[in-house]
Symmetry: C2
Subunit: 624 residues, 2 copies
Amino acid sequence: MTHRATVDFLLYDWLKAESLCQRERHAEHNRETFTAVLDLSEKIAQEQFAPLNRLTDTHEPEFDGVTVTLPKETAMAMAAFNESGLMAASKDESVGGMRLPTVVEIASMSFFYKASVSLAAYPMLTRGNANTILAHGTPKQIEVFAKGGFEGRTFGTMCLSEPQAGSSLSDIATRAVPDVAGDGTGIGWQADSLGPRYRLKGNKMWISGGEHEMGENIVHLVLAKIPQADGKPVPGVKGISLFIVPRKLVKAGGSITAQRNDVALAGLNHKCGYRGTVNTLLNFGEGKFPVNGEAGAVGYLIGKEGEGLKCMFTLMNEARTSVGLGATMLGYAGYEYSLDYAKQRPQGRRMGAGGKDHSAPQIPIIEHTDVKRMLMMQKAIAEGGLALGLLCAQLLDDEQTGTGEEAEKAGLLLELLTPVAKSWPSEWAQEANSLAIQILGGYGYTRDYPVEQYWRDNRLNMIHEGTHGIQGLDLLGRKVVMNGGKALSVLAERISETIQKAGHVEGLAGHANALAQALQKVGATTKAAWSTGVSEEALANATPFLQAFGHTVLAWVWLELALAAKAAQAAGAWDRSPLGAGFLQGKLATADYFFSYELPKIDAWLGVVSRRDLTCAQAQADWF
Amino acid sequence: MTHRATVDFLLYDWLKAESLCQRERHAEHNRETFTAVLDLSEKIAQEQFAPLNRLTDTHEPEFDGVTVTLPKETAMAMAAFNESGLMAASKDESVGGMRLPTVVEIASMSFFYKASVSLAAYPMLTRGNANTILAHGTPKQIEVFAKGGFEGRTFGTMCLSEPQAGSSLSDIATRAVPDVAGDGTGIGWQADSLGPRYRLKGNKMWISGGEHEMGENIVHLVLAKIPQADGKPVPGVKGISLFIVPRKLVKAGGSITAQRNDVALAGLNHKCGYRGTVNTLLNFGEGKFPVNGEAGAVGYLIGKEGEGLKCMFTLMNEARTSVGLGATMLGYAGYEYSLDYAKQRPQGRRMGAGGKDHSAPQIPIIEHTDVKRMLMMQKAIAEGGLALGLLCAQLLDDEQTGTGEEAEKAGLLLELLTPVAKSWPSEWAQEANSLAIQILGGYGYTRDYPVEQYWRDNRLNMIHEGTHGIQGLDLLGRKVVMNGGKALSVLAERISETIQKAGHVEGLAGHANALAQALQKVGATTKAAWSTGVSEEALANATPFLQAFGHTVLAWVWLELALAAKAAQAAGAWDRSPLGAGFLQGKLATADYFFSYELPKIDAWLGVVSRRDLTCAQAQADWF
């Protein structure tokens, strides 16, 4: 299949990822080490994850009131992943890493998402959790709580939502009060060196990986509010702090005890898909597992008091781009399966000059134009989404190991693109999966084929880690206007460079022109939206703006890929590939597809934004 | 909820359904009898169907090798439906009917589709099956095979697809040979009076309701080919004939025997949704239940030899509009549920001049603009789809009981609109269901709420009874060009009348203008598509054409509804409704929504059609 070849094309022909090895941090790497990591990832994903994907769908996690049981194969897949050392690939040696560029680490993850998105969610969350502790924790917290994650010994979660407050984090009701009592247990859990110690009480909803028996421990990162002197928390998100709450208590030295912290499973959520990831409602501090005779989950403050949300955004942002890549790879999985099916399945005949020749054998359905259209759209989404995911990863590399202005711009661009990287694949790879079903026809709708599961699994992605609506508000309400619109300027600059280059290339000048117009429209629409300065008007159509912005970014990505394909053609870069000339030709055709079929959609979306259309905003509840 | 009120609005304020009572056929009816039928339908659907909807999802049909077992509640729901007499509502008294207009019969069905689409599929198929026999069968065939369906004693199926030939009916391999042997069974199955007798052999795939123990019999309508003198069938669809194949043999007099015909269940299909309808692979004539010692399913030719597909289209067309209405009502169900949820669920706060006031209680999420947008889109799809479904039903009334040119035009318009009525709700009510999930957030993704099932159930509708791609080819390849484009002219005439009226109405003139432009574009695009006369070019983008055509038709429907709402406002028609003025205001706002947010989407779709874009058509298999 073309996934690996496309990863190589994106990394080397497009992103020039080898050049990262010139930076000191990655000096010990080269294309050979990248190749080894990608080979290994592809192999483990294919052999240890893919075969379990349907099994985890049909064998949901179960809870008997005491223990959560996952299919035993889940732990086997985790062990295979952990043994590979991929978890900490981009990290320092001190936490078991090998200083790989993030872009290669994320390319590696793409194989796991494609093989089984709900199994890959465990390492994704664990890595994000450990990265957050690495970014905001004390050296001791890193040693005790992050290292286990990087080494695959412990698992990590993120605990934000509560039953009464989904997207509205300012309304979380979980409380954290300083734990001033002495340690009467004799096991040494009163580990002040692990950070300021609190007791947490509250309920956390939608916690993926919240309870299971895998690994040595589960490290929860929990948002909660610390009451002030008057007993009340600071209202709004400013009152939120972040806590490390281990499932099993940990001694000051870091060793994990057998004693449960006061974190109890209240129930499992039974989802439409994505069933390989156990999803839980957790009760913190209800007294089911009292510590030192008292109810209250022991937690250690990480980062500063009141800066919990800021710290959590390290994890949130990583989770958002990861969710986007997961969605993309579900789209890729459906694309590959339906492509293979379309090449094999005979049905129908070509229309000749004198009608159909019924004596001829049936043709494979890939020869029908509408099937090609459905494959082309899937390809545009899957490969475009993957390109966007790798671009974001490389921006993180540039932010972290680039220099001066380059680093600053990379950071801004990544901030701007994060809502796109999360939302665009979530919306469109869902559509891609629907098309995969459609190509298989009735068969695609049965559980005998994998595509209906991809489609069900994917539906979660517009919901978790910030809904579609939240991404739109983040983009139009914050990201395009922050720093005086600087991030948007950086994007415009980058896009303009691409337009400049493509304007002189045969076959791409028309696309360059279309992209220039789209960029102009997005800019003008952003201004028009905010022209009255009234946020209700500006943001009344934030979701259509998100859709149009996403399509414009993807048009840019596809023009970039077309340029890379042209350059590779000229250099004969893929001449010896068994995929043949069709490989690069396909990239160019998909760019053509995107500019012909997709980019023109932005006008309808932008229209309501620039008019500040209030049809929906002004609708009253009794009109429905 | 507003479903019933909207049905009343559509029937009386818009379609003036009472005027049908002036026709001789419906002379005994009036608004009161319509009301009684709708009341009854709503009640049975709500009480006997809705409570079973999740149960039929979690308790799939099972097959132990001998018997198919459905949840026992399925038969209870069928009994409730059958006792109501609704099955034959629009038919003559001779088959147990009451000569109700089709538009009221279909309005009645909308309640059942909404309550449980997969349970309602049984009466839908049975009625369509009986209608087909009524249209093409001999009096004896009607008496023996249709009447049982209309009376709810027997069930009906449609057997078209085969495993090797899904959409390509010309490739069906089921053979029917004249049955010349004598009747050695002594039970009198050799009932020549039931029609020319054949023996059928072949496999039929995706047969809904194909095997179960409900009712006295199952009447299969089966497409098969009769070999010619040389032993070969006529190639293409011209060689197809239609046969009545009862599950249990029937005596000449019509009584059903205990002896199984040679129709055997090969297996059940396990679907992603729509699980309440048992879906089967049937083997005809494999000898599992030999008749008179011989393999071969006994079937009776209905209609003329070689005209099977034409006859089957009576059933196909009915099934297509029914599938569309079923999709619509799934959209309606999700709309109602998510609307109710949005009114109840508190989350977040309004943005005030000084930011959010965190001391205020949270607001119900229906106050958030993006939630209103998602409700508005659902409303536009659900109510618009319902309007389209009722319009098609009334066109059938006009074709059958109207006079002269009116009847002819109605017939043409119905033919033209059938692919739209099938495809538009299948695509967009799926999207509506996705939005219902989105409004419920994580909860919507769990199986504790009904919306994820609506979404799964709905995914079938773009596949069965002619895929989306087939509908596009039917529309652009046949319907818009047939009779020299006469049907398209009739539609243009009707749309122009609406534009004419709305052009003078305050608040609607802009919409009228937009619709006029859309109509012009659709016409010009149709011409441009066919301008080279090369069908591969014309039809290369039949699906985007279908999408644009559908949105244009729906814009027309919404402008019609806005006119009806304005008239009702002026007449004070809903002044005493407990729904209040908001009910009509909501219709107007939804029309505004459709014209602002939806209709502008057609440009992107029409662009590729009018350019005869061959990006997809020319893509080669090795480019993917």
